[in-house]
């Protein structure tokens, strides 16, 4: 069963991608659309697939992959099944960065990329601040420092929202924060994709540390692993993943928390073996959630982040219930 899991996920990923490309208010041929778009033929198919559905699908896949992988890495690092990317303060830092750009009208020369870049910088600053505050990769300190940073960033974000220059700016900000992958264009991918590659590479390089840490710092050190340095690299990798996905697609909650739990019954609990499947399941899940968003009746669009939260919240309650049963 374990061996068949990864190939099954790949097949599922291809199916979901295909469905996402074919699904929409207008029926078009995916193959014609992609081939026309690649050959720069300006047909109706090329416009719909290449300019609208392809960026949206790729973005959903990349954001999902980033969130799924970062959740698996953080849960492994902190040895805590309730760990989530927003725990280290990256999500809130990214939100604050982008909101600040809206508020002060900074980076206007960069056009649509302004919020994305500001979000990425916000996440990096939040993470650097968190690492400085924690002083080490020790789980309890990372959680405490992450909580402090996210609280500060959340307070600052509330101030920015409170003093938003006009109702439109505020609405735009709130909608962005709710999370979506629609109307983003290929430009967003140019930010997300390199960050996804760098972040994933940093985490993958430390997979042995994640495995070794399951038996504690002392065992990990005795096996020749550098716990302090490796933990920092994992946190940095997570910053790349979460910062870039939040800056491009806003807050898409619960994916990082939920995905590793879906994966574990299939591949076992060893943190290094959870990484790759979590990346794939994250991609599939967010792409599916985006298809649900599109399948809902037109009019007032339900945001992607809201859909993942509606799916994720009951799961979180179940996790707390399961944990509680162990102690009561």
């Amino acid at each position: 069963m374990k061996r068949a899991f990864l190939p099954s996920l790949l097949i599922l990923l291809i199916i979901v991608t295909w469905v996402s490309l074919s699904f929409g208010s207008v029926a078009v041929s995916v193959v014609t659309g992609i081939s026309d778009w690649l050959r720069h033929i300006s047909s109706r198919e090329a416009l719909i697939i290449g300019e609208i559905r392809l960026p949206r699908t790729l973005l959903a896949l990349c954001v999902g992959a980033a969130l799924g992988l970062s959740g698996a890495a953080l849960q492994g690092l902190l040895r805590n099944p309730l760990a989530d990317p927003s725990l280290v303060g990256a999500s809130q830092g990214a939100s604050l960065g982008a909101a600040t750009v809206f508020y002060f009208g900074l980076l206007t020369g960069m056009g649509a990329l302004a919020t994305a870049i500001a979000g990425l910088i916000g996440a990096m600053l939040a993470l650097l601040f968190m690492l400085g505050l924690a002083g080490s990769g020790r789980p309890s300190l990372v959680i405490l420092a992450g909580l402090a940073v996210s609280t500060i960033a959340g307070a600052a974000l509330a101030v920015v929202l409170n003093f938003a220059p006009n109702p439109y700016a505020m609405q735009e900000l709130v909608f962005w924060l709710l999370g979506a992958v629609s109307n983003r264009g290929m430009d967003s991918l140019y930010i997300l994709l390199p960050a996804l590659i760098i972040g994933s590479a940093l985490i993958w390089d430390q997979r042995h540390l994640l495995a070794g840490l399951s038996l504690g710092d002392q065992v990990a050190e005795s096996m020749g692993l550098s716990v302090a340095r490796g933990s920092r690299l994992i946190v940095l990798g997570t910053a790349f993943l979460v910062g870039s996905s939040v800056s491009v697609a806003g807050n898409i909650g619960f994916v990082g928390l939920l995905v590793p739990h879906i994966v574990r019954p299939w591949v076992g609990h060893r943190p290094d073996k959870v990484l790759l499947p979590s990346l794939l399941v994250g991609a599939i899940l967010v792409c599916l959630a985006d298809i649900i968003v599109r399948a809902l009746p037109a009019g007032q669009e339900l945001k992607l982040g809201v859909v993942t939260s509606i799916i994720g919240a009951p799961f979180f309650l179940w996790l707390v219930w399961k944990e509680r049963k162990q102690w009561l």
Binding site: R79, L215, E221, M223
Partner: protein
């Protein structure tokens, strides 16, 4: 040539100028009261904590080796190990290959055989009893095939059946052309299994040599602060509070 030689090893005030040697096929017992510095000494030799002094494995100065290479030569099983996740026993044993960066099935299967845990390799670590778990932890470190195996109190909290089973695994590993240093509180078992003993007190090595030399009623009574009765002629040897 000694398999491992430790010279003038010092860790702040916890271990002071410790020197010892261990040969192939030899099992050295590290004994002494709580707080004597046994765990600190083992951790320092394994490179888990910083120390001053020299450590050589045969002709290699381990302090200049990179940490992975050092971990291939010296394996450590710390005093208390817990798994944060509900991992399969097989996966736990495979973790022992991390210093090598592979998952050599030969080494893993051999470690499983040495520790006699074949019956529950597909169970999860948190479902096992304390005694079964102790042998799985040992299998983990043995899978790395370290030349020198350091084990910190492996039989604390185990029943007498598992105490003997763990000590037999360690003794057999030493006989397989390796070296074992084990920190142990049970002096009778130390006398029974160890070729030589090293008595520590307040960070110093007080006595080192064969059990007949170290397990001396006068030295032990001085060190532990209570009368100690020793009868090494009895089979198995007896060392108990007097």
């Amino acid at each position: 040539m000694a398999l491992i030689s430790v010279h003038d090893l010092t860790v702040d005030t916890r271990v002071k100028h410790a020197s010892l040697e261990l040969h192939r096929c030899e099992m050295l017992g590290l004994i002494g009261p709580n707080g004597a510095g046994k765990s600190t000494l083992l951790n320092a030799i394994a490179g888990v904590i910083e120390s001053e002094g020299k450590i050589h494995v045969e002709d290699k100065d381990v302090q200049v080796l990179d940490s992975k290479h050092r971990a291939r030569l010296i394996g450590l099983q710390p005093q208390s190990v817990e798994s944060a996740w509900s991992i399969d026993v097989n996966d736990v044993v495979e973790l022992g290959r991390i210093p090598w960066g592979d998952s050599d099935q030969n080494a893993i299967q051999q470690a499983i055989k040495w520790t006699d845990i074949e019956a529950f390799t597909h169970r999860r670590i948190n479902e096992l009893s304390g005694g079964e778990r102790a042998r799985v932890w040992l299998a983990r470190v043995l899978a790395g095939r370290p030349q020198v195996l350091l084990v910190d109190e492996p039989i604390a909290n185990l029943d007498i059946h598992y105490q003997l089973s763990v000590m037999n695994v360690l003794w057999n590993y030493a006989q397989n052309n390796h070296g074992v240093i084990v920190a142990i509180h049970d002096l009778s078992l130390a006398a029974r299994y160890c070729d030589r003993l090293c008595l520590m007190h307040k960070g110093n090595i007080i006595a080192i040599g064969n059990p007949e030399k170290v397990l001396n009623e006068e030295i032990l009574s001085d060190t532990y602060g209570i009368p100690v009765h020793v009868n090494l002629k009895h089979q198995p040897p007896i060392v108990i509070p007097g």
